[in-house]
């Protein structure tokens, strides 16, 4: 164990050193290859231009290499793999897509994903907005925000253990040690095995993600609320608007853009939800979602790269509109510079 720590520390130092060395050395080589002689002004300016042309690519090189190898190439490869059989060796046309449409588990996953998409982003944004408005108005609001924001730091696996303990069910006459069942028992209901209740168990899993992500929505929306020009609110107060009217008619419309950003960010996260389902149910009891089904097919029976590529492509297709919108926004911002 000690040797592992030592070697990890060594790697960190060596890695940083190698990186720094690359940038420093490549800059030096550039200066040697394209010298700037003092006596020959023409040659000097030509070489200075050459340096300026090459240098950006030296700086960008490692980053571009990583992006191409780990993201660009795999996206293209996954697209092609979806037309090949399980080993990726034989072309099978649309067979994998046909399989997906007819597969009951795939349809179940699509249905569950839509359910997650309908509930989680809306719930997080709503709770986040309400909590942001409330905490902005009290002196210990920042402390409250910290506490609600805290689950953001917890891993999905850790959060799953935390919530599994809340949903814990004990059979027979044993004492219920899960909080939910204890509450249900205290108000006269009968304890349930929550995570295997068909259909409703999806919502018990969603609660975990809502618990984690509400803090994120709250932080972003709170900053947006503080950015609202005070004159608009003052004017509304003078005109005799009620708090409710000010909230819905003055504040919400002004932070509409931020709400959209929060909503889409959580939407992307929900599309990729994996850890929670894996640790809580592993897709049993009709809780399967696309990311888990995809992972399942990556290794099921030695792995089926064709089918799992189709499932990945569905997730990709769902984020593509958001991606295009983001790129357009970024281009617009750069145009404005």
């Amino acid at each position: 164990m000690i040797s592992q720590i030592v070697s990890a520390v060594g790697v960190v130092i060596a890695g940083v050193f190698v990186c720094a060395l690359y940038y420093w050395l490549s800059d030096k080589i550039l200066q040697i290859v394209f010298p700037v002689p003092v006596e020959n002004v023409r040659a000097a300016s030509v070489n200075l231009n050459r340096r300026a042309m090459v240098r950006p690519w030296l700086f960008l090189g490692p980053a571009l290499l990583l992006l191409v190898v780990y993201l660009v190439y795999p996206v293209v490869a996954t697209f092609f793999l979806s037309f090949y059989d399980r080993s990726g060796g034989n072309f099978v046309g649309l067979a994998n897509y046909r399989w997906a449409i007819q597969d009951a588990q795939f349809r179940q996953s699509i249905f569950n994903n839509i359910l997650w998409l309908a509930v989680v982003p809306a719930a997080c944004t709503f709770f986040g907005l309400v909590i942001a408005v409330l905490t902005d108005r009290i002196w210990w609001g920042n402390l409250a925000k910290s506490l609600i924001f805290m689950p953001m730091a917890i891993s999905f696996v850790g959060a799953s253990v935390i919530w599994k303990f809340i949903y814990e069910y004990r059979g027979g006459s044993e004492t219920q040690i899960g909080l939910l069942n204890a509450i249900v028992q205290a108000i006269g209901g009968s304890p349930q095995v929550w995570i295997s209740l068909p259909f409703w168990n999806n919502f018990f899993l969603m609660a975990i993600l809502i618990w984690i992500q509400t803090g994120f929505a709250m932080v972003i929306l709170s900053a947006a609320l503080r950015g609202i020009p005070e004159e608009t609110i003052e004017a509304a107060v003078i005109d005799g608007a009620s708090g409710w009217q000010i909230f819905w008619k003055i504040m919400v419309p002004q932070i509409w853009g931020t709400i959209a950003v929060v909503w889409t960010t959580i939407t992307i996260l929900v599309l990729k939800v994996f850890d929670i389902v894996l640790t809580m149910t592993n897709g049993q009891w009709n809780t399967m979602v696309l990311a888990n089904l995809m992972f399942d097919w990556m290794f099921r029976g030695g792995g089926d790269s064709g089918r799992s590529a189709v499932i990945a492509l569905i997730i990709m297709a769902a984020v593509t509109p958001i991606m295009i919108w983001n790129i357009r926004q970024a281009n617009k911002e750069m145009g404005g510079h």
């Binding site: 960190v12 108005r137 919530w163 909230f247 970024a330």
Partner: protein, 385 residues
């Protein structure tokens, strides 16, 4: 008057706001508190009572048999049996007792109870009892039911168990081995790229920025299959293990790269132009400008991103499951916890202690560096985990 101040004037009365925020905070805190408290309880107590009773002590229902009629002593007209209900068993504090299994808390401890048939039974809190009857006792010793409170007790034994015998200690080191290099390497690479994209003119710059922005949202799932194949082929070709720390460092660096470049470019391109141009006029090379001016000035952005990346790599399960082995020397905390959920389901003393060890590092990082985290979130809220 600030916007926040104007907000204070509108809407609900103050008290309602305070109470509702308090309720929300409690709801948000209770789940974590549950596993924290449970991780310090003994296994027996965890299953005997809910963790919320941990501080008041657990009330267990138990049964005891009073002394045989032959031990009765005559006292005037009464026959009396006395002794302790805890004979031969563990101690505790008797809260209540009863003579029927359906009503184990019928009578309060310390007060004489008329249980019919001319019999009177008193069970004191310390367990001693007096059982008297106005006629000789018959049959076997009487069965009584007790509600016994055991005092709250906490232990660190669970942590010792999981750290040593459940491999969580080793996994903790493994997680650090993954997360620290996977945080530092991408930052350096992304910072150079962000500088090039901000302050250097070259053809194709806009295209690369668009590519980076687009890649931010590409789901990890798209990369997994080809990369898994590629890693296996490289492993076979060179005769090295396909799942290694080097492999996951590069994978994490690459997956974090788009957001890193995006965040850092936003920050670096906003630095004042005069500083960089005057340095250029003074004859500083781009490398010198980067190291001596850009890096120190971009500290807030670097800090924001490194917190993101650290939390993301520490908390990640999917990438580790695909690119890292499940052997003892490679299993990270999230993977170990997931495995324990399968093998130790229901053993909450193991699960809660392991879970708490898993989440304690991110929580410390979170509270210590929350400022930078929030700043980063506000700057880059397009990715989402």
């Amino acid at each position: 008057m600030s916007a926040a101040a104007s907000l204070r004037r509108i809407g609900l009365p103050r008290l309602i706001v305070h109470v509702s925020v308090l309720v929300i905070c409690i709801i948000w805190l209770i789940p974590t508190l549950g596993i924290l408290v449970t991780s310090f309880r003994e296994a027996g107590q965890i299953t005997a009572s809910g963790w919320w009773t941990a501080f008041t002590g657990a009330a267990e229902t138990s049964a005891a048999r009073l002394g045989e009629p032959s031990t009765a002593k005559q006292n005037g007209t009464n026959y009396v049996i006395s002794g302790s209900v805890f004979e031969g068993g563990k101690g505790g504090t008797v809260r209540a007792f009863g003579t029927r299994v359906a009503a184990p808390t019928e009578f309060t401890a310390g007060q004489p109870a008329d249980i019919g048939n001319g019999e009177t039974l008193t069970v004191n809190e310390d367990g001693s009892y007096t059982y008297s009857k106005n006629a000789p006792f018959e049959g076997r010793g009487k069965r009584v039911y007790l509600s016994v409170a055991t005092p709250p007790s906490f232990t660190t034994e669970n942590y010792r168990t999981v750290l040593t015998s459940q491999g969580i200690g080793q996994s903790f080191v493994n997680s650090l081995t993954v997360a620290v290099p996977a945080t530092i390497i991408p930052i350096l690479i992304a910072a150079f790229a962000a500088y090039a994209l901000s302050w250097m003119e070259f053809p194709g710059r806009a295209l690369i920025i668009a590519l980076v922005v687009g890649l931010i949202v590409v789901p990890l799932q798209m990369s997994l299959i080809p990369l898994l194949k590629m890693y296996n082929e490289i492993g076979n070709f060179f005769g090295v293990p396909s799942r290694s720390y080097a492999g996951i460092w590069l994978a994490h660096s690459a997956f974090g790269m788009p957001l890193a470049i995006y965040l850092l470019r936003n920050y670096i391109s906003g630095l004042p132009r005069e500083i960089i141009e005057s340095a250029r006029v003074d004859g500083a090379s781009d490398f010198e400008i980067f190291v001596k001016i850009i890096l120190p000035l971009s500290f807030p952005a670097l800090a924001s991103f490194s917190i993101f990346q650290f939390l993301w790599t520490w908390n990640d399960l999917l990438v580790a499951m695909v690119f890292l082995g499940t052997g003892k020397d490679q299993l990270v905390l999230t993977g170990a916890l997931n495995a324990l959920l399968g093998s130790m389901g229901g053993k909450w003393e193991i699960l809660t202690a392991s879970a708490f060890i898993t989440i304690v590092v991110p929580i410390i990082v979170f509270f210590a560096l929350q400022r930078y985290l929030v700043r980063g979130l506000l700057a880059g809220s397009v990715k989402g985990g």
